[in-house]
């Protein structure tokens, strides 16, 4: 876990395993339950559910293993997904709606429509992504709380 200025606000940290499609959504639902228990606004929870689900599915689809964590700060929620895996060759391309490197088995399940990163970005107020091909990817999303919501709804 990187030592960050928001580290002390950690609420939950979960491991996600590559190719574990059977459990896809498990971590997202735990995060959702955690946020509900803290009385977080429904709209915020809805956005984070989308972010968490897409990030979880990305780790399962493309990485070997990953960790998803979320932090509740006084004025924001931070969501982080860090994985070890093949990483992303071209981030700009990967962010394009409809672009996907999913194989047929993934597509038949209804994943791999190429919307994951785009949806994560749309749902975040601040979206940061870094990747090292052959090593892994890190996604960090900031969602502002209480009226400081600047996310453009689509």
């Amino acid at each position: 876990m990187p030592d960050t200025e928001y580290g002390r606000f950690l609420q939950g940290s979960f491991e996600v395993h590559g190719r574990d499609f059977v459990d896809a959504g498990l971590v997202s639902s735990q995060i959702k339950k955690g946020l509900k228990a803290k009385g977080i606004d429904e709209d915020i929870i809805r956005r984070i559910a989308i972010i968490a689900f897409e990030a979880e599915v990305n780790i399962i689809s493309y990485a070997t293993v990953g960790t998803i964590s979320y932090y509740i700060l006084p004025d924001a929620i931070i969501f982080e997904a860090i994985d070890e895996g093949k990483g992303i060759e071209d981030i700009e391309l990967a962010l394009q709606e409809g672009y996907s490197t999913a194989d047929d088995s993934i597509r038949e399940m209804g994943f791999g429509a190429g919307m994951g990163l785009a949806n994560i970005r749309k749902s975040s107020d601040v979206f940061e992504i870094t990747s090292e091909p052959g090593r892994g990817t890190r996604v960090k999303c900031t969602i502002m709380l209480n009226g400081q919501n600047i996310c453009k709804e689509n």
């Binding site: 896809a24 639902s29 994943f111 949806n119």
Partner: protein, 114 residues
């Protein structure tokens, strides 16, 4: 309109969570792409899909759907029903093709448009 009424009118077979059929439905959503359903469906919706794997329960639970209708005569997987039972999400099935089922369901939910 409740799930019970809908199930009756459309001759849907309920595969689990019969006790939850009294739920009111807020609207319908049709589609098989999980990202799309996650981004665009709403709480209380009935989700119409042909997907049968347990991830549909994960999505339905996250979005707080009222129920999932599986069309095209597809059979929900055993794990799907088990998960749905744990989450309290009724899974209903129909042999109807998606277009027919959605058409009839839409008519039930929005009779003023008929």
């Amino acid at each position: 309109m409740t799930l019970e009424t809908i199930a009756e009118r459309l001759s849907l077979k309920c595969k689990c969570c019969w006790e939850h059929l009294k739920k009111e439905v807020s609207g319908g959503y049709a589609g098989d792409l999980l990202s799309d359903v996650m981004a665009n469906s709403a709480a209380g919706n009935i989700w119409v899909t042909r997907q049968v794997h347990q991830n549909i329960v994960a999505v339905a639970a996250l979005k707080e759907h009222a129920a999932v209708i599986i069309v095209q005569g597809a059979t929900p997987e055993k794990e799907t029903l088990e998960k749905a039972t744990r989450e309290g999400i009724p899974i209903l099935v129909s042999d109807m093709a998606e277009f027919e089922l959605v058409g009839r369901l839409h008519r039930l939910l929005y009779p003023e448009q008929a």
